[in-house]
């Protein structure tokens, strides 16, 4: 049987090189400013974590094969080769010390989109067999079980029962012709069951026709994190198949940053065709409901709240105003962190870092940036909208003995909904108990 190899890795890197990559490498002046934007460098002070340095394997392939000058150099024996040993050395740089948060892409003075290139370089790492064990395991589980944590529908079904019991509402499952297909993340299901309850309430309140799918409930994409188109495409296809089967026109990505970018921005390119539906983050949907006057809330949180923007949602997907508008609905003492929105700081756990046990110390180091930001604002609670960020914030704050609870924005909205006489959103068929 075939095996991952250096040759396949190099071919994968070559396949990733396009005009932007060539323009980026041609433009780098080695000013080092990208380091000043990366939490991993800033919090460790180790210059190895300079973003552009993490891309050296891709840069070498580009120079040697995509430039006339590089070809001449190679012909003269002056070229720099990419070896297996080099890739092994770079593995921790590309996975453990980068969350693909994209902050460096905002700061590089010549405009290099470094995170774009990190994502591409990971393709070569996977094909050459240099991906971290934690991510390899998550990818295998995702393909084999449908969830990177090995979670099954059974677990979700139990949770649905809980939700239905506590809300008295029905969680629609496999309802063909619904407008929205709601996708979840295993992390949410395990760590934050209140999320499902919250959307059940909100959608009931706003009269949204939605459904879950037994065919596919998981929207996180380990393939994107490890950096394999093949794995990622297969996972996306599952979502597309489920959505198509139910004929929904809109798919809602879970409160998970990378799941959103995976399905929203990369998905159609992974499968090589546009979707027959549109994709939204739950925050976008909630804000749309707010704008349409379909969210009626009462009362506001009185304590000092601040917010962590997930990189994937804010900087990498342009959802920045929406969560603030929603906060305005339910909080009266909200203050933003100093650098937020497109210039927010990563929590330190994204991009597969949280699935990669080896990266644990770095993950905590990178969190110190967030911690400092939080300390500067001194909120009583933090609000966020990504299960990975939320877990990282909780664990990090606990590690540093900071007593600041972290809450999800969707839950907070749900808590402030005006109790209304239950208006049936749609009459009749209220089935919800799949096999």
């Amino acid at each position: 049987m075939s095996e991952l190899s250096l040759e396949r890795g190099l071919a994968a890197l070559r396949a990733e090189i396009d005009a932007p990559v060539a323009a980026f490498f041609s433009s780098c002046v080695r000013c080092g400013l990208c380091a000043q934007s990366c939490p991993f460098y800033l919090e460790t002070g180790d210059p190895r974590y300079t973003p552009i340095l993490k891309l050296e394997p891709l840069r070498r392939v580009w120079e040697a094969e995509f430039t006339l000058w590089g070809r001449i150099k190679r012909w003269l024996g002056l070229g720099q080769e990419v070896s297996d040993a080099m890739l092994a050395e770079w593995e921790p740089l590309l996975y453990d010390s980068c969350t693909m948060c994209g902050r460096c892409s905002m700061v590089c003075p010549v405009g290099n989109d470094l995170a774009y290139m990190i994502r591409k370089t990971r393709e070569g790492m996977v094909q050459s067999g240099h991906a971290p064990e934690g991510l390899v395991a998550a990818s295998v589980r995702a393909i084999q079980t449908g969830s990177p944590m090995g979670l099954q529908w059974k677990t979700l079904a139990v949770q649905i029962q809980h939700v239905e019991r506590s809300t008295g509402l029905t969680v629609p499952v496999d309802r063909a012709g619904a407008e929205y297909l709601v996708m979840l993340s295993s992390m949410e299901i395990i760590n934050f069951p209140e999320y499902l309850e919250a959307i059940t309430r909100i959608f009931d309140h706003a009269g949204v026709r939605w459904t879950l799918s037994t065919q596919c409930f998981e929207a996180t994409n380990a393939g994107i994190q490890i950096g394999s188109k093949d794995i990622a495409a297969e996972l996306v296809e599952r979502v597309v198949a489920a959505a198509s089967a139910l004929g929904v026109s809109r798919v809602i990505s879970p409160e998970c940053g990378h799941a959103f970018t995976a399905i929203r921005w990369e998905g159609p390119n992974l499968i090589g065709r546009p979707y027959p539906f549109r994709v939204f983050h739950i925050i976008e949907v909630l804000d749309e409901l707010r704008r349409d006057g379909r969210l009626h809330t009462e009362g506001k949180e009185a304590d000092r709240l601040s917010m962590h923007d997930p990189c994937n949602l804010a900087r990498k997907s342009g959802v920045i105003g929406e969560q603030r508008a929603l906060m305005g609905l339910v909080a009266e003492n909200f203050v933003d962190l100093d650098e937020h929105g497109r210039f927010q700081w990563c929590c330190g756990a994204g991009g597969g870092v949280s699935s990669n046990e080896r990266a644990e110390p770095l993950k905590l180091a990178a969190f110190k940036r967030k911690k400092a930001q939080i300390e500067a604002v001194e909120p009583e609670r933090m609000v966020t909208m990504c299960a990975t960020c939320r877990t990282q914030l909780e664990e990090g704050l606990e590690e540093f003995n900071m007593d600041i609870p972290v809450v999800g924005l969707t839950e907070m909205i749900a808590e402030h909904l005006v109790e209304r006489p239950a208006v049936e959103p749609e009459a009749g068929t209220e089935s919800g108990q799949p096999a």
Partner: protein
Amino acid sequence: MAASQTLAEQLRAQGVSRRGFLKFCAATASLMALPPSLIPRIAEALEAARRPSVIWLSFQECTGCTESLTRSHAPTLEGLIFEAISLDYHHTLQAASGEAAEAARLQAMRDNAGAYLVVVDGSIPGPEANPGYSTVAGHSNHAILMETVEHAAAVIAVGTCAAFGGLPRAAPNPTGARAVMELVHDKPIVNISGCPPIPMAITGVLAHYLTFGRLPELDAYRRPLAFFGESIHDRCYRRPFYDRGLFAESFDDEGARQGWCLYRLGCKGPTTYNACATQRWNGGTSWPIEAGHPCLGCSEPAFWDAGGFYRAVSVPPRVNAAALLGAGAAGAALGAGTALAARHLTRDEQQHREPVTVEELEKKL
């Protein structure tokens, strides 16, 4: 001519007073930038000096150099110098002609072998050029030059043509014109460049030779430092305008009327070494920049080919637009080739691409 008379005897015979003579010595000293304390020594040396024999060869030239030297105003140093040397051969100035003239040259060479000076104006078609391009009495310039300098004490190349090739040597140099110093390698040579050169520079060098019996200190182009030690720009009275950035931009604009710097009108003063700014022309009347015209750089090598007279020093002579376009097109083709080759390779590889499978990944666990 009485080549054996000393200069002092000669001058006295001409009715030049002792006072006049000392004035001449002082003028020589100042001309050559020597300290006044040397004046008595100069006088002493000159009084004892013998009139050297001078053979003046004119080749591919326009006679401007000779004009420059002779259009002087009496009584002048130039005049005095002419008295002080024994000009045994000069096409334009000598009375003899034809065979007699040539005989005079050979005679002088024989009589003063090893001691005579050769002054050259005009450039010379080089040995590889057609000798017929320029001849005197049926002999090529090159042959005459080589024959004449053989027993000379020193050679003085007067004018840019002789010093650097000048106008005849301008591209495409149809006659294969060369400078004296390119042809004569075993004799002391002084270049007194300029088109034409400043007369005082010629006489100054001769006076120095008479006084000290040797040639003055020279620059890298063998030009006497006393006259060519500083650039026009460094001594130009318009320099303050340059330093303040005030330039004439056409010959009749306000700047031109205000006497501002002529850099933008193509002044070559910055790259030109000559004494115009201090010695001036026509008996000290004026000089080109004072007359409102940029310096052409006439005392520099290749001044005809150094770019337009009216284009600034910084402007390269000519850019070959066609060649440049060709180079650009070649570059575009090379770049396109590189990109397409790389694309071709990746496309091929993609066709045989092996997708990452779970089985492969599992092996890594």
